[in-house]
């Protein structure tokens, strides 16, 4: 049931997109045979090839770099830094929506940004912002950096979780005893065992980086933009003539993501083969450790940039005047914060309501799913894992607009409900991923004891299972809420622009003329999920303040 409900909208959306790309455009007379017209109009768009090249370049570069950096950093800090501490210090970056981080990075890196201000004019001689493409550069370096600030913490977290399941200490000691450097032991012995455990998250990162829209709108190249951004623009264009290239581009985006993922899986084998050959040679020499240190330093820089970006948002949000090259605002003001009606009130309310609604629905569905698996004694099928992950593996532009067309045909207009439903497609997978391990790890003897004491299934559920799982439930809820707040394209497409949220407003304003207002929206956007995380951390402590084992320590 659940699986069907999940699969259907995706397939319908994809089908509508592919159909339209083949010439069956919605709202037009149907051609008798498939037409190449949409594809031709796509190829004729100025800058089309460059857009595809930028998509491939930024997507691959950011994924490979994120993986290398996260893996190296793990090698450096593993068992030197408590996992829990690492997890918590990464929380602001993990919680912050992509668009908020992107806006913050622009505030940091742009020619008028914070870093240029700190160095000007004493070191640079710049009285005015220099005419340099430091963000929205044609090569997409700023976009790659932006993706790294988000993906490196994510991969660090999943890697640390994977390493916790492996006998890393023993492996490392054996390798060191055989004379390998820490770096080589790490790369040759530990990572090959950890990688299969994080393959799916890595594929998420790859698919996401290839098709990201909100971050690319703020940091990515503009003339032309990446393919996903160009497709979004065509879908948004007032002239319906752009629907042809938009649908063809969406189909192409899907093909690109699938092809690159296939290539990635082949690449894994090639790397594995080369790695085996390298290991078989058994060479102990070579200085791996400095490389590890360099990668660790680069990771630190990326993480610091991300955190500073969030701080920069805070300064702009409260600034009144901040002329270049002043390092700090010359005047502060609360004027925009107090203007609720003409400003952020509606967007804040929508973000909150959507987050609450989708999180509650997703938690409920996730619990039903897990409970169903458990009562039916069913192991999680591989297809189910992939199915749940599907919305995270497919590019959003490839099915969301098509989905909207299908919904309209079914008589469901754009609005709050459509947005909430589309968001749930992305929130549910995350809640399920977070909730599954603790659910399965629950000691069945506790329930058996309750049953032997005469508690029926419902009572067992309410008085034993729910309290025991309160902390993971809240954590899954916080993750789901953070995902909902951050979603850009589902909100934009399914709401037809009439359900403004902090995220859609922040991205729209980011290209405009008032950084103070952009800062306010982006800061609120970054704070909302963080508050949810904090609640998930603190609520169990307060509720179970007399039950230390339940209050739990680890985040």
């Amino acid at each position: 049931m659940l699986a069907g409900g999940f699969l259907l909208p995706l397939l319908a959306g994809l089908g509508a997109t592919l159909g339209a790309a083949a010439g069956y455009l919605p709202g037009r007379p149907l051609p008798e045979t498939p037409s190449l017209q949409p594809l031709r109009s796509l190829l004729a768009e100025p800058g089309f090839l460059r857009a595809v090249g930028q998509t491939l370049g930024t997507g691959l570069a950011s994924t490979v770099l994120a993986l290398v950096l996260a893996a190296s950093f793990c090698g450096l800090v593993h068992q030197r830094l408590p996992t829990r501490l690492a997890g918590r210090s990464l929380a602001p970056l993990l919680a912050a929506p992509h668009s908020a981080l992107a806006i913050g990075l622009a505030f940091l890196l742009a020619p008028w940004g914070w870093i240029a201000r700190w160095l000007s004019p004493w070191a640079t001689g710049w009285e005015f912002p220099p005419d340099l493409p430091l963000v929205q550069d044609p090569l997409g370096i700023a976009l790659v950096l932006g993706l790294l600030t988000k993906e490196v913490p994510f991969l660090l977290l999943v890697l640390l979780a994977a390493l916790a399941q492996l006998p890393v200490q023993e492996d490392l000691q054996r390798a060191r005893a055989l004379g390998y450097s820490r770096a080589k032991a790490w790369v040759g012995v530990v990572l090959p065992r950890a990688y299969p455990l994080v393959r799916l998250p890595v594929l998420f990162v790859l698919a996401f980086s290839l098709s990201v829209v909100d971050m690319a709108l703020v940091l990515g190249p503009t003339q032309p933009p990446t393919l996903a951004v160009a497709v979004t623009r065509w879908f948004l264009a007032p002239d319906p003539a752009f629907l042809g290239p938009a649908f063809a581009g969406a189909a192409l985006q899907l093909a690109i993501v699938l092809a690159v993922m296939g290539g990635w899986l082949l690449g894994e084998r090639a790397v594995a083969a080369m790695g085996r050959a390298w290991l078989a040679r058994g060479s102990r020499g070579g200085a791996g450790d400095p490389w590890l240190a360099a990668a660790g330093l680069a990771t630190t820089v990326v993480l610091l940039l991300g955190l500073l970006a969030l701080v920069a948002l805070g300064f702009w949000a409260f600034a009144e005047r901040w002329p270049f090259p002043a390092a700090w605002p010359t005047e502060f003001s609360l004027a925009r914060w107090t203007n609720l009606a003409g400003g952020w009130g509606e967007a804040f309310g929508n973000s909150l309501a959507l987050g609450a609604a989708t999180t509650a629905a997703s938690l409920l569905l996730a619990m039903l799913w897990l409970e169903g698996e458990e009562r039916g004694h069913l192991p999680r099928a591989r297809w189910a894992t992939v199915l749940v992950a599907l919305p995270l593996l497919l590019p959003q532009v490839a099915f969301l607009y098509g989905l909207q067309v299908v919904l309209l045909r079914a008589g469901v207009g754009p609005g709050f409900l459509a947005v909430a439903w589309a968001q749930a497609l992305f929130v549910l997978p995350y809640t399920l991923i977070v909730l599954s391990p603790p659910w399965k790890a629950l000691d069945p003897r506790l329930l058996a004891v309750a049953a032997s004491l005469g508690a029926g299934p419902n009572r067992r559920w309410l008085t034993v299972k729910l309290p025991l799982l309160l902390r993971p439930l809240l954590t899954a809820g916080a993750v789901g809420f953070a995902v909902s707040v951050a979603l850009y394209l589902p909100t934009l497409f399914l709401g037809a622009g009439r359900v403004p949220t902090l995220t859609t407003e922040a991205v729209t304003l980011a290209s405009g003329g008032d950084r103070r207002l952009v800062g306010l929206f982006a800061l609120l956007q970054a704070l909302l999920p963080l508050v949810a995380y904090l609640l998930a951390l603190l609520l169990p402590r307060w509720i179970w303040r007399h039950r230390r084992a339940l209050a739990g320590g680890s985040a």
Binding site: G27, F235, L236, A496, G512
Partner: protein, 409 residues
């Protein structure tokens, strides 16, 4: 906030026409035949959906004020339907017509001009003529060719009512540019001397397209050609001097002309940072307003070229399928009231110049305008100089497309 026009279009095509409001009021009636009091009486209780570009917070605030006033005075509920591009509304009305939704359409009043007006008028999608039925139209100069009844060279024939004056100005910081250029040739010379200090919004945005049109008007050898629709052959011939000028200018632009600010507001931010030395606006009061809001330094002034700058009237039109034409006309008439126009001209409110003829106002009405404050940065009408009429709408459409083909690799 962006709307999704094509989505809304699909919405109109795929959903049955709404029947929420009582249909069939005055749409077929010749407007001037009825006394105005009857129109006002009928308007009471109606809801007007005003589709209007929402990119400017001051304009949005002004629309909120208008909504409060017409509710109080006429019992009309006015809702601002926020657009990021007026083309969205045009697509929507066209889609409603295609879907046979000829009554009770979703838009009752539309802020429109130029190519969008022409598209609506040619497709017969407008209600009217109605301008003559508005009592306050007596304050307008309605002689043929007057800007109040001409939209981008197209006679409005009573299908549009003006409500604010838009004219292009450049913004510059007089501390950084003490001797600003007086025309586009001097602008080119200035850019050569100051590489990287000039830019313009992306021509996909109307402000970027307007910059190109201003240059076209100055560079073209035969300005009269621009009054007629652009054909492919005429276009290539007439615009040749423009592209020559632009090819010379582009390497000296900010980012070597490879990247452009998205709109006038993004460019204003660059001006505020000092990253570039010029901004653009359709609102002569925008510099003074932005200074007040802390968005620009106090040394920013407005600049008009010596031969005059492009100007046009902003209009409101009523879609043919509006279910609230009486209330829409009452709102249009309210916008033309001297007190409304004086409020719009107030720099603290909107700062857009009045569309009314001064000599048609009574002494008391003129006093409303004379009492308005005039802070530094606000140009006088003399400083603004003459208004250059817009070319025929087809030139703008083609300019934008050809620019993209020439300069996006």
């Amino acid at each position: 906030m962006r709307l999704l026009p094509t989505l809304l279009l699909l919405n109109a095509l795929l959903l049955p026409p709404g029947t929420a409001r009582a249909a069939g009021d005055t749409a077929a009636e010749p407007a001037p035949a009825r006394p105005w009091e009857e129109v006002v009486a009928e308007a009471r209780g109606q809801t007007v959906y005003w589709a209007a570009w929402a990119g400017d917070s001051r304009t949005n605030a002004f629309l909120r004020w208008v909504a409060g006033e017409v509710r109080e005075r006429y019992g009309i509920r006015l809702e601002h339907w926020k657009l990021s591009d007026t083309g969205e509304a045009v697509a929507r009305i066209a889609a409603e017509k295609a879907a046979g939704r000829d009554e009770d359409g979703s838009i009752d009043l539309l802020w429109v001009n130029g190519p969008n007006f022409l598209a609506l008028k040619e497709a017969d999608l407008l209600y009217g003529p109605f301008l003559g039925s508005l009592p306050h139209s007596r304050y307008l100069d309605r002689s043929p060719g007057s800007p109040a009844v001409t939209d981008f060279t197209v006679p409005t024939e009573g299908y549009e009512s003006p409500w604010r004056l838009a004219r292009l100005v450049l913004l510059y910081d007089r501390d950084r540019v003490p001797d600003p250029p007086a025309n586009t040739d001097e602008l080119l010379a200035w850019a050569r001397e100051h590489p990287g200090r000039l830019t313009h919004p992306d021509p996909a945005n109307f402000m970027g397209a307007t910059f190109l049109k201003q240059a076209l008007l100055e560079q073209v050898t035969d300005p009269a050609a621009l009054a007629a629709p652009a054909t492919p052959e005429r276009f290539a011939e007439v615009t040749a001097p423009l592209w020559e000028w632009y090819d010379a200018l582009r390497p000296h632009l900010w980012r070597q002309g490879r990247s452009f600010p998205a709109d006038e507001f993004a460019q204003r931010q660059l001006l505020a940072d000092g990253a570039v030395d010029f901004g653009l606006s359709f609102d002569p009061a925008s510099a003074a307003a932005a200074v007040r809001e802390g968005l620009l330094p106090e040394s920013v002034r407005t600049l008009s070229f010596e031969g005059g700058m492009i100007g046009n009237f902003s209009f409101v039109a009523i879609p043919y399928n509006s279910g609230a034409t009486a209330a829409a006309r009452v709102v249009a008439n309210f916008l033309l009231a001297p007190a409304t126009q004086a409020r719009a001209e107030d720099i603290r409110v909107l700062g857009s110049f009045s569309v009314l003829e001064r000599d048609r106002l009574s002494a008391g009405e003129r006093a409303l305008f004379d009492a308005l404050p005039s802070p530094p940065g606000l140009p006088t009408p003399e400083e603004l100089g003459p208004v250059r009429p817009e070319p025929h709408p087809s030139w703008m459409t083609r300019l934008t497309r050809v620019w993209k083909e020439r300069y996006t690799r």
